[in-house]
């Protein structure tokens, strides 16, 4: 069985400077888990050729699917495509179909150098169609190269998702309780030890205004057919500790 895992490389100075919030990786993360693909790493790196090359080579080795966002526009600071060409020792050149799509879209005297640049990519790439603003993304080896603008990225991701190998979605279930994490830690750890085929995560919440808090306990598993048995053990624990539990399905 091929391991269905993935990594995301977010390329952009604007994320590292704090100017822009990366919302793309959360979007992709949610899509992947629902399609049985395990996201194992997200990395945010600057628009720097050497760093892009090293990171792409690294991710290419470790993950079945690699998604990059950012740096494929028409301006001088868009260096993702040239860098990925170098990472895979491919010629950085016009993709005939991409060139045609862009040429047909722009009025003849407005198909300038910047716009032509958006047709340049590693030789041998397969296009990812952009239904919104024309300029395509592409696939080279196991790397899916997407733009950074969230609205466009999301449309394109939904299109490429259709062609990915998919696994069984990860089963997941959340129990929200008003008991504090530190009160239940020991008991929860015992339940985890008895149920090794699932992961039990514990995420405290606190409403400072209401001065009330508690924990979201997340049970998740790639293997189990249902989580009812573990859910019941946790509900029982909460009851014994004098708390309330609320189920939040996801």
């Amino acid at each position: 069985m091929i391991k269905l895992n993935a990594g995301i490389i977010v390329i952009g100075n604007e994320i590292l400077s704090g100017r822009t919030k990366d919302t793309n990786s959360n979007f992709i993360a949610n899509k992947l888990i629902k399609n049985g693909i395990k996201l194992e790493k997200i990395t945010v790196i600057p628009d720097n050729e050497k760093i892009i090359i090293d990171t792409v080579r690294d991710f290419h080795k470790y993950y079945k699917y690699v998604f990059t966002t950012g740096g494929i526009g028409p301006t001088h600071d868009d260096i993702t495509s040239e860098s990925i060409s170098k990472a895979f020792k491919k010629k950085y050149s016009y993709h005939p179909q991409a060139y045609k799509i862009l040429k047909d879209y722009y009025p003849k005297n407005e198909f300038n150098k910047g716009r032509k640049k958006m047709a340049k990519m590693p030789e041998g790439s397969e296009l990812i169609i952009n239904p919104l603003t024309i300029a395509p993304g592409y696939i080279i080896k196991n790397v899916y190269v997407l733009p950074g603008v969230p609205m466009i990225m999301k449309k394109m991701f939904n299109l490429l998702l259709k062609n990915l190998d998919k696994g069984k979605p990860k089963k997941t279930l959340t129990i929200r309780t008003n008991i504090y994490e530190s009160v239940m830690a020991l008991e929860l750890s015992r339940i985890q030890k008895k149920n090794k085929k699932c992961a039990i995560g514990s995420y405290p919440y606190f409403n400072y205004l209401k001065r009330k808090g508690g924990v979201n306990i997340v049970i998740s598993s790639w293997e189990l057919e249902n989580l009812n048995n573990i859910r019941d053990q946790i509900k029982k624990m909460i009851k014994l500790l004098g708390g309330k539990s609320f189920l939040v399905y996801k």
Copy 2:
């Protein structure tokens, strides 16, 4: 001159599953740039001992400051502190001061194993005080270990920030224009080539409802005393291309 750079390691399955949006790294990014510290990488990894060890060792070598968020609570899935102890071959043991803070805080018969666990960290760590929920973070070598809950993390980051070496804040200035990126790409690239001491970033925006878009051009520099000269060159270019420009100071 020591290079004032930094890396962030976000530790948590809940980010990779898409359940939780990481807002901590954007907060830290904004603080760092204003204090003259260059953020060079953000990585999101799972609660996995080997991956935490490898990533911490790696970041420890490359960055002056490393910040980790997540995985230092009382439950079984909080494995950050034990993993970082192993990364640096330090004993994972009770920090006397942290133990005392927690012991004094909880009623005697409620200072249970989970709560004691929050006093365990790599031997030789220096505490980062938690003014909100008591359980401290800590510093070991150049690694600043913080909790994942944003409200708590932010309070603690503001405290530790006081003790970091600081540089000159990065000068930055945004010009918003109604001209499309692909129209100005060539001219903008010429301006960038003439001004190598600054970085010129170009970030398209598009309001789909209004069917209007344009670009935010961000000029930034660690070196230059002011950006007025470059600002004027860009405004001139926009005017020549028939567009409007609006300055957005940051």
